[in-house]
């Protein structure tokens, strides 16, 4: 019976990490549904981006209030992981505050003291975050796509953090030997008096309960990630690593189109020639994207990384002027559809069964796509380098090249370019008239 807590702990840990591993596998599988794109070049620039933007939070502080508050929670998250490591080792081997012996009481005191201060700062930050979302009602948290689950998700995460931090502080406050030692209990010494009249046994029970709920809470939270916008705490790192390194104005040139255009323009090609054998069985390339499998894996990774902060949408000229387009919604829709496709694959023994739906129309409407000015404000604003614009353009490509479904005025513009080399109906022979018009 002596080893029962250790065994229970090991089982809890195994279940927690087991589920997490399963979800991570699903995540990988879904992201791999995307088309191939080479993002392994220029490793040093990519690493630098990741360190600066994800690890260093460089783009978060563009908005100082939320940026600094986020920094507190982020640093808290990173550093408190040391505490979690201790809890895991203690739990498995039945030790108590093992690091105290290893690191020496003084250094351990500094460490735990820092955690306690961070825990309080996190609580303060979380309170402000909650107020911003629910009381002050900052505009970017009120958009149409933030109704229902996304709004609740945002609040759940905050409640989770409150619970975890409170448990951590309670655990320390009720740890009699820890309080007696008096090193590192910078905050918990002020909570300890609440439990003054309690017997040693009751204190110990509360301490153990807080300890257990703290680690179980962390395991639950770990598994909550996959279903939540909070996945960004993991994916921000690969996402910034694999992000586009080219100038933001540079759109991809579709290679399949290049081949066809070059054939079309080559005077030596026999237009009546029968196709060579190896081209016969080729599935004709689909131009642009109408569903998640037409997007690249980086775009799908983007969708899972999005934490729905809405900085993109709050800087989008179309959204600011009341149009339906919201770059955040583009990312949320992409993730929702990808999840749907993933579940479809799971339910059908590993193969996708046509469900009569796609990203286009069922999630994202042409009206949204056509409202984009391609100004790159959303890309610039994203704190983790998500690129909603690339998805918008890929879907426009599908609308235009596969469905000829551009707005009439754009069709006229394109006809003009084709016929007279300008978007307006002017004669190409008049192209130099401006010289003599003064």
């Amino acid at each position: 019976m002596h080893y029962l807590p250790n065994i229970l702990f090991a089982i809890a840990l195994a279940i927690g990490f087991g589920f997490f591993a399963m979800n991570v596998r699903k995540l990988f599988r879904n992201i791999r549904l995307g088309k191939d794109i080479n993002r392994t070049d220029n490793k040093s620039a990519r690493l630098k981006n990741m360190l600066k933007i994800a690890f260093g939070q460089s783009k978060m502080v563009r908005r100082p209030i939320s940026g600094l508050l986020h920094l507190v929670v982020y640093v808290g998250f990173i550093i408190i992981n040391i505490e979690v490591l201790e809890i895991v080792i203690d739990g498995l081997f039945g030790t108590h505050r093992l690091f105290q012996d290893i690191l020496g009481t003084n250094f351990y005191g500094i460490l735990i003291g820092t955690f306690e201060v961070l825990a309080v700062l996190v609580l303060v930050a979380v309170f402000v975050f909650w107020t911003r979302r629910n009381v002050v009602k900052i505009k970017r948290f009120l958009s149409a796509e933030m109704k229902g689950w996304p709004k609740n998700d945002g609040n759940f995460i905050l409640y989770f953090e409150v619970v975890l931090m409170t448990l951590f502080l309670t655990m320390n406050a009720t740890d009699a030997p820890f309080q007696e030692a008096g090193v590192g209990n910078v905050i918990s010494q002020f909570i300890a008096p609440i439990f003054d009249g309690f017997s040693v046994e009751t204190l110990h029970t509360i301490e153990r309960t807080a300890w257990w709920f703290h680690i179980l809470g962390i395991l639950v939270f770990l598994n909550y990630l996959y279903y939540s916008k909070h996945l960004h705490i993991l994916l921000a790192f690969p996402n910034t690593y694999f992000a586009n390194l080219n100038p933001k104005g540079q759109f991809t040139n579709l290679e399949a189109v290049t081949k066809e255009v070059k054939l079309m323009m080559d005077p030596s090609v026999d237009p009546y020639a029968t196709p060579t054998e190896n081209t016969e069985n080729q599935i004709p390339e689909k131009f642009g994207a109408s569903d998640v499998a037409d997007l690249s894996w980086v775009q799908l990774l983007n969708a899972y990384t999005c934490t729905e902060c809405g900085r993109c949408t709050s800087s989008c000229p179309a959204n600011l002027t009341g149009k339906k387009l919201s770059p955040r919604k583009i990312m949320m829709d992409t993730r929702d559809r990808l999840e749907e496709v993933g579940k479809n694959i799971d339910a059908n023994g590993g193969v996708f069964k046509d469900d009569g739906k796609q990203l286009l129309n069922d999630y994202i409407t042409p009206e949204e796509l056509w409202a984009c000015t391609s100004c790159n404000a959303c890309v610039e604003e994203c704190p983790v380098n998500i690129d909603p614009l690339s998805i918008i353009v890929d879907m426009r490509r599908y609308l235009v090249m596969e469905q000829s479904a551009a707005p009439q005025s754009l069709n006229m513009m394109m006809t003009n370019i084709e016929n007279n080399g300008a978007p307006w109906q002017y004669n190409q022979q008049d192209r130099l008239n401006w010289v003599n018009e003064e």
Binding site: V257, V261, T373, W434
Partner: protein, 259 residues
């Protein structure tokens, strides 16, 4: 005004130091044609040996590409590249950030490799090479704000060249709240110029004009023919056209230097 074409240059066995890519707006649009002419005057003053493609120039395909028509874009690109390469063009300057972006970033992988300048970068270069001076008396003390074109700013990270030149004009530059990387689009990019806006509660150019009006300017400076049109329309909508002029930086330099 003398504007030699590449064909004429070639006939004389000459190779100009730079090709001026005029662009469709710069060739046909009344407001943009003024920018083209102002820039040519600047090139003449700096004694730059330049030429244009003239009737051999065709749309870069930018608007088609942003609209999603990759076929049309690549056809235009390959046609233009064929001509540019036939004339052995090495350096290009353009007053249109959209052409600038497309020529600089999207032509190389299709076989068109050139050193491409936006006109504000080229003017900046002419100044540092002591080939051009800007008179800081003519516009001295005028209140000016600068609207960053998306395809120069965010798209290509060029925020300083236009500002460096503006400072040389002796004007009083006040930045809008949203400027440089946080600048708001004028509403014309991504082929919006050629279509009606989707349903909303405001036009983008009106919102951007309001940003500009907050700085109480006498001049709204731009570096893009489409931005110029959008901002000028916005100023007109606000009935401020008697107090505020919307001009491209090239026009301001031509004015400052009495060209």
């Amino acid at each position: 005004m003398i504007v030699p074409t590449m064909a004429e240059m070639m006939a004389q066995g000459k190779q100009p130091e730079v090709l001026f890519w005029v662009g469709a707006a710069g060739s046909y649009d009344d407001k943009a044609k003024k920018i083209s002419r102002a820039f040519v005057k600047i090139l003449h003053q700096a004694k730059v040996d330049f030429a244009v493609l003239g009737t051999e120039e065709s749309s870069t395909g930018d608007a088609a590409k942003r609209a999603g028509n990759e076929f049309l874009f690549q056809m235009q690109a390959l046609m233009n590249i064929e001509i540019l390469n036939a004339y052995e063009v090495k350096t290009i300057v353009t007053c249109d950030p959209h052409s600038f972006n497309t020529l600089k970033n999207e032509y190389p992988s299709l076989g068109g490799n050139y050193k491409v300048y936006h006109h504000t970068q080229y003017i900046q270069k002419l100044i540092t090479e002591n080939r051009l001076q800007i008179n800081d008396e003519t516009l001295k003390g005028k209140r000016l704000t600068f609207h960053d074109p998306c395809y120069l700013g965010r798209a290509n990270d060029e925020y300083e060249s236009p500002r460096d030149i503006i400072r040389k004009l002796g004007v009083n530059l006040t930045e809008m709240k949203r400027h440089k990387s946080t600048a708001l689009c004028c509403g014309a990019g991504g082929a919006q110029m050629f279509k009606d806006a989707e349903k909303g509660d405001k036009e983008v150019n009106i919102l951007r004009t309001e940003d500009a009006l907050e700085t109480n300017p006498q001049i709204i400076a731009t570096g893009c023919p489409y931005c110029k049109t959008m901002m000028a329309d916005g100023v007109k909508f606000k009935e401020k056209e008697s107090e505020i002029v919307v001009k491209d930086i090239a026009e301001l330099i031509a004015e400052a230097n009495n060209l």
